[in-house]
Symmetry: C2
Subunit: 415 residues, 2 copies
């Protein structure tokens, strides 16, 4: 048995390091000699920039801290490998480096763009008769990977979004004595509305939940929005609207482009769009004489490990473990997918699926999980998402703040 190398790619999640911990634990269990991390994904691998995990892990207990650490411990990248044809030199040099480091198992943790790396490397290995095995571990808060029931990272982001929206509704209602108070919450999601849909989790006996939810899967209609706001303003004192950053009109115009005249010009002379939240601010201010508050959940929705879903952490860990096991068992060109045969009581199974069926494919919210009028989600979606947000895995608190495991903490320097 050769060594294992693992990389993290694309936007981090609250649980991406749990997958890393799972893969490492499996490699330890199977007696793998060396576990390497790619420093900043495939980009670092190409530059021969590897991290020797021995320098950070002295025993398996360290994995518990890694599981509770946000963002990509190894460093991430957004580099996509060029096509094989015409770039054989690059591929050849990568495989030579694998041989040099005695790397037999190559694991890559990322979204649909990152799975393209597994696809290309495994194709090249097959063509050239290499024996290395390539397995992908799913990861994205966007939940837009094909075949898998859901992706590790989504459950924690959904829990954070649902919780924060619920807390902000409480806050907004506190003041709702006189004029209506309007909060517009902008949530990540360019093409798929999974994250914004999770704001509906706030709805329960103690909370109305968001009044309107707009997803990119449905065209945004300005007149319809204004008519609904008009009705809400006349009947409610606290109004909360949740919107995906990528909502657009029927002609494809992004809503964030509507307030374009106010856009900042950025460092490259491009208009820097201030987000669809500000376009809705504009519409509400101009039509109703009320200034809404715009809240952008921004980076927090993908790195708030302090509120990770335990279900999500454990599934991320399991996906990492099983990916490593799958590679060691001799399979290649696979990604681990999650299958949920039943949601109540909840059961989740892990399968190895052909990478070609997953890479570069984007899964959107089914239209049937969005209400007909396009301003809310259905009970079926709530049934889908609910088990994914169950449980917490509290951080290890030191001095009141979560302790993390970072590249700053080389064990040799501590012990």
């Amino acid at each position: 048995m050769g060594n294992v190398v693992i990389g993290q790619s694309g936007g981090p999640t609250a649980v991406i390091n749990a997958s890393l911990a799972g893969a490492i634990r499996c490699a330890m269990d199977k007696g793998i000699k060396k576990i390497f991390g790619m420093h900043h994904g495939i980009d670092g691998f190409i530059k021969h920039d590897l991290i020797d995990m021995d320098e950070y892990l002295v025993d398996v207990n360290d994995l518990s801290l890694l599981k509770r650490t946000p963002a990509a411990f190894l460093g991430s990248c957004r580099y996509k490998l060029p096509k094989i044809e015409g770039n054989e030199d690059l591929y050849e040099s990568m495989f030579e480096y694998m041989d040099e480091m005695d790397i037999e198992y190559f694991l890559y943790n990322g979204g649909n763009d990152s799975m393209d790396t597994i696809l290309k490397l495994s194709e090249y290995a097959e063509r050239t008769g290499r024996n290395q095995k390539f397995v992908g571990i799913p990861k994205t808060i966007d939940n837009d990977l094909a075949i898998t029931d859901h992706t590790p990272g989504y459950g924690s982001a959904a829990k954070f979004i649902g919780t924060c929206v619920k807390e902000m509704i409480c806050d907004n209602e506190s003041f709702a004595g006189k004029d209506p108070r309007i909060v517009i919450v902008e949530i990540m999601g360019r093409n798929a509305g999974w994250l914004t849909a999770a704001s509906a989790l706030a709805r329960d006996t103690d909370c109305t939940g968001p009044d309107l939810i707009y997803l990119p899967e449905v065209n945004f209609n300005i007149e319809d929005f204004l008519a609904r706001m008009d009705k809400l303003i006349k009947t409610k004192k606290s109004i909360v609207v949740c919107v995906s950053e990528g909502i657009h009109l029927a002609d494809g115009t992004l809503v964030c482009e509507l307030a374009n005249e106010n856009a900042l010009v950025d460092a490259f002379g491009h208009k820097h769009l201030s987000g669809c939240g500000y376009s809705l601010f504009r519409l509400v201010a101009d039509n109703f004489g009320i200034n809404p508050r715009v809240v952008d959940l921004s980076l927090l929705q993908r790195c708030a490990t302090h509120l990770a879903s335990r279900t999500d952490v454990e599934e991320a860990y399991s996906a990492g473990y099983i990916a490593c096991e799958t590679a060691i068992s001799g399979e290649s060109a696979k990604m681990i997918t999650l299958r949920v045969p039943r949601r109540v009581p909840y059961n989740c199974f892990y399968e190895a699926t052909n990478i070609a069926d997953i890479a570069n494919i984007e899964k959107k919210m089914p239209r049937s999980w969005i209400t007909k009028d396009g301003t809310n989600v259905t009970e079926d979606f709530i049934k889908y998402v609910s088990p994914l947000v169950i449980g917490t895995l509290p951080p290890y608190y030191v001095g009141g703040l979560p302790r993390h495991m970072t590249l700053r903490n080389k064990r040799k320097e501590i012990y």
Copy 2:
């Protein structure tokens, strides 16, 4: 013994309801017959809009849920009583209503503006020989009340800010492989920098902490900022800058006004400033050709009860309890202040201080707790803030999301 009335005022905090729970618990312990809540503070009281707490609390266990509920359960307001002279009718009618409802103890939970309510009502009572007692309970995330060592609400906001900044630094470092990545975090605080200063809690063996911290107590110097950024960009790949919303130049110009040409015109025809974060975006983009990411912690910093500091929750509860006890013991025109004779090990005592020494006074960060160059905080500040963020009081999770106690949950309708 007459009845108790309690009101919540000003911007909510993560623990304002813990003070409400403490006051209610004391009233129960002392055998008070009726506990009324003001629906939206003094504004609701004037309108005779009271909430009978019997309708929400069946036993003391409900107080545990109330302690874990963000924002103002009773509803808040920003109404300031007019001066007594010339408004005797208003004051007389308020006292008549107290007589009518047999209210003897009047508790008000708020910041320095709200303490003005306690000051004026107790003055009027003294002038007119009324026997009602008026006691204030401190509350504000801004930590800007005089005399008290700190204010309930601040510790939880500090814990949330420190934690989120630490998580975002992790996230930003994940990508720091190529060009420098810059995040600008905008934090509440118009005149006092206590909240932004708490971002320094992120600094530890596992995290560099913010690279620059700008508070309103020190004039912001554009040239100095650019020189520091230039140095950071040349030496670091991940740069995080934390700024108070109220930072200003030496001539008093708010930094948020600098990017004014891009301001949205709001519902009242005023320029709607997009925040000092965007002014710094502008400066960095224009001078270095890099687009920073601007993150505004917005409402979350005052309502993220899911990450409340246990120390803060218990102190808020105690302050509420002792305020009620103080009023019942016959004292009036007081606010409960916290005294911390020693920070290691931490001890906190509660005292009743004359309201006239507190109302309408704003306490800023001591200049000596800010580094000489004005871009960081000192160890003395860290020693001050550290004990305030210790411990957690996890929410009651139902279906993966925090359960709250809201006005929607009348007990008669549940049981």
